[in-house]
Structure formats: C-alpha cells, structure tokens
Amino acid sequence: MHRYLNIEAVGKTFETKKGPFVALTGIDLQIRKGEFVTLIGHSGCGKSTLLNLVAGLQKPSEGNILLAERHIDGPGPDRGVVFQNHSLLPWLTCYENVYLAVERVFATERKERTHAALELVGLSHAEHKYPHEISGGMKQRVGIARALAIEPKVLLLDEPFGALDALTRATLQDELMRIVASTGATVLMVTHDVDEAVLLSDRVVMMTNGPAATIGDVLRVELLRPRARLALAHDPRFMDLRAAVLEFLYEKQAHKTRLRAA
C-alpha cells in the first residue's frame, strides 16, 4: 500500500471579491499505510487548507484525492479529524462527545468502544466530566479519542497542540506517539513547530509560502522508534534534521517582508 492516501496534482483557488486567489497548486503527495506525515510551513501557506481538502470540508479546484483507492468527495467517517481548538460540544460530557462519533459508525459495542477510546488517551477517570471542567490538554485528548474511536483509515490533525503550553504539549506528543504505535494509525498532521514535526514524523513535508503554495521539499526522518525525547535532544542526526527544516523555513522560505527589510 504505497499510495494509501494519494494526493494527485491538487490545487485550490478561492473566489474572492478581488478575483481568484490561488492558495495551493500542484500538490502531489503519497502516504503509505501506517506512515506519520507532518505538513510544516509559515502561517498562510495553505497547510490547513490542504488538510481540509483531505478531510473533505472543502473541495479541491484541481486534481484528485484518493484514500484506499476511493475518491474523496466530502467528509466521511473514514477520516478522523482533530481540530486545533478541540471543538468538543460543551453541553455533552467527554463520554457523550466520543459516543456521538461512535454511534454514527458502529451498530454494536458502542459503549465498549467509547470506553476503550477514552482509556486509550488515559481519560477513563474523566468520562463524565463536561469540557469546561477539564484542562486544555485533556480536552485535546478527548478530541483525539473522538477521532480515533471511529477507527478511521487516516487521522488528520490540524495543529492539535498549538494552543497548549509547552509542558502539556510535550506530554501529549509522547502520548500521541504511544497511541500511534499501538494502533498503527496513518497520520497527516499540520504543525508549525519544528521539533514536533521532526520528533513525530516519518516524513516532514515542507511547504513554500503562499499564494500558490506547493510542496517545497520532503524530509525523511529515519530515526528509530520508539523515540525518546530526552535522548534525541542530543542526537546529532536529530539536530541535523531539525537544522534542515529550520534552514528551509528561515532561509529558503523566509517571509517576503523580512527579505525586503534585510
């Protein structure tokens, strides 16, 4: 399955009052089953737009997206989405939030599946709490549980830890690595955090600046798993990879305004 998720010559143009705006162009990306791929780039480079296209929330203007050889035409339960701001429904408990997703997909063992998903993210003790009663990190865990509970073919994460403090973010990154290792999930994640991208990914897809953003370069991260945050901090290979991403972002794709100022 070398082309489990297949993004073929995809472009996205928005119609605006000032005429058409080309956000993405010529995106080609193939993701293997079980692979962890991150999209990184400066803000406004269209990485979230690309994720929305895969999620089916928006439709590509050009090209095709196929998941397990099936054309993506709108949102569906074969893709689990984790939003940046958790997007839990505040009037439902954690359990009910996850159950809402489960009952849409499975006819049997709904309760068991809901419990299992919350256990996977370590939140069995908070099942009957409401979102406003738990911390930001816990909310995001529920978001991940909700996305995983439907056993999607691919997990789509849109800057899932962007709104969290550094310590919580690190804990959740470790959790995510553990969950992905135990479920064998295929993951496409958007981030603007270089360390996060290198730590988590099998491949880091670096995007050029918009408008008409496209894939600038792809970096393979061939570090063995399980990866330990502390050990990697001094690993020269990790530091080289990190430097390569930084170089791409701050030299080749430095913001145009900054170039002009220099």
């Binding site: 089916g56 949102p75 689990g80 429904l89 009037w91 809402l100 849409r104 409401y130």
Partner: protein, 300 residues
C-alpha cells in the same frame, strides 16, 4: 498666518505622569499602619464585606417609602404607606373569594392574567421558535422576513387589539392574541440570532462525523441556540406582562389589569397601589425564574 497663530495657542493635552514621590508616600503609609497594628495588637475594625450589599437595597426601599409617605402627606388623594398596608392585609387575607363575575379576589385576578400570558406566550413560542430557526438557517427566508418584522416590531401591541376583537369577536381571545403578537418578535429575533451565532467549529464537527440531520438538530443546533432562545423567552415574558395589564383594562373581565381599572372606578386608590406592587412582584418573579433557567443552560 491666522491658522498658524491659532495652532500655537493649543496646549498639548497630556496625562501628567504620577508624582515621583507617590509610590514612596504610599509605602510609608502602609508601613505606618503596619507599625501601629504591631505595637497595639489592634486592627482597625472593618465592616464585613457583605454588609453594603445587604444594606443598600434596604436603605433604598426605606428612602422610597419615606418619599411616598411625604408625597401622601401633602394632601391630594394618594394614600400613605400605612393605609395601603392595612388595605393589603385585608385583601391578602382572602385572595380567592368569588362574589360574581366582576367581584373576585386578587388571587383570581392575578391567576387569570397569568393564564392569558401563559397561553399567548406558549403559542408565540410554538410559532416563533421554529420561525427563528428557519430565518437563522436560510438567508433568503431571513431576507423576506426582515422588512415585515422591522415594520411590525415597533408597533404597540395594543394596536393589535381591535384586529383581535374583529377576528375572535370576544374579549378573552383578543387579549391572548395581543400577548401572542407582542411575545412573537423577541422569540423570532433571538432564536434567529442564536442560530447564526453557532460556531463554525461545531458545524465542522457535524460534517466530519457525518451526523444525520436529526442528530445535528438535537445535539448541535438546539443546545447551541438554547441560551439565545431563553433570552428571547425572557424578553417576551417581560413584554407580555407589561402588555396584559393594559389589554385587560380595555377588554374587561377578570384579570389584574381589569381589577386596576375597576378599583379606579370605585376610587379605591390604595387598591391600585396594591395592584402596582403585585404586578411588580409577579413580573420580578417571572424574570428571576427565567434568569435561573438561563444559568442552568449556559456552558461557560
């Protein structure tokens, strides 16, 4: 030349910086206070924090009653608080008597007014809330409704009374109809606003989970709009309780508004004042009940 001369006269406005010694003086005062407390072992007695909050309304009511007593003393026909209090104890000693259709206790009058408000208001909710959902969800429908609502909303609800009498040929349904009309607008408008305020995130969740229309309504639209709906209900019931008094004055029958008018015809001014307080207290109770309800359904 003139302009430049004028400009020179303008003194630049600038907030003056705090005096350089201000901080030091403040610290010195605090230190002196601490020394005093340490040397004597006493603290200056402070009133408890809840006291002003309790005291203020009591003082306010006392001032109000004193002013009333003063006005009553100036002569005229305004009864003083003591007279009204005696009349009130008599009236509330037996609020549920019945001596024929036009002579009933104040309890019956309040209840029949509440019943009219309840019926008119429930009908308005049944019509207004679904309409609000439609106008909130579909832009074209909202565009169609906007001029009609804008035109009819500022009309005094009492202007609808003749139409009600014409349609129903009876006083009681006409009064209910007036309540219906005046409760309708806040309910439609607030529900529609609520539907438009639903965060896109929630709708995206519905889309990625591919929820059925029924689930979208029961799990997302309805709970998200509920706080707005309750606001609409609160405004409606406030207006309805204002309007029912006036409507009943015109239609007659049993009801607190009719009672006010009847007591005016009997020239029992103290009873009118009792009615004013009763209307106020019932209105306050309705408002508070809905505030409590709103708190139950807010997800902060």
């Amino acid at each position: 030349m003139r302009a430049s001369a004028l400009r020179e006269e303008v003194i630049p406005l600038r907030a003056s910086p705090p005096h350089p010694g201000a901080k030091m003086l403040g610290e010195r005062a605090d230190a002196a206070k601490a020394r005093y407390e340490a040397s004597t072992g006493y603290r200056r007695a402070q009133p408890p924090e809840w006291l002003p909050a309790v005291l203020a309304p009591i003082v306010g009511l006392a001032v109000f009653i004193c002013l009333w007593a003063l006005v009553a003393r100036q002569g005229g026909r305004i009864p003083d608080p003591v007279t009204v209090w005696h009349a009130a104890t008599q009236i509330f000693a037996d609020p549920f008597y019945r001596k024929g259709p036009n002579d009933q206790g104040i309890g019956w009058n309040v209840l029949s007014s509440l019943k009219r408000v309840g019926i008119g208001f429930t009908l308005a909710a049944l019509v207004g809330i679904p309409l609000g959902f439609v106008f909130g969800r579909f832009r074209f429908a909202a565009g169609m409704a906007a001029p009609v609502i804008a035109l009819l909303k500022p009309v005094s609800p009492l202007a609808w009374l003749p139409i009600g009498l014409l349609l129903f040929k009876a006083a009681n349904p006409a009064a209910i109809y007036v309540i219906f009309v005046c409760s309708l607008w806040p309910m439609i408008v607030n529900t529609a606003v609520g539907v438009r305020q639903i965060p896109q995130d929630y709708l995206n969740v519905a889309r990625v989970l591919n929820l059925s229309e029924w689930k979208v309504f029961t799990r997302i639209l309805f709970p998200a709009v509920l706080p707005y709906m309750i606001t609409g209900v609160r405004l409606s019931i406030g207006v309805a309780w204002l309007v029912i008094v006036a409507a009943e004055m015109l239609t007659g029958g049993v009801g607190i508004g009719f009672w006010v008018w009847d007591e005016w015809n009997n020239l029992k001014v103290e009873h009118i004042i009792i009615a004013i307080f009763t209307i106020g207290i019932v209105g306050l109770a309705l408002e508070q009940a809905l505030v409590l309800l709103a708190r139950r359904f807010s997800y902060a």
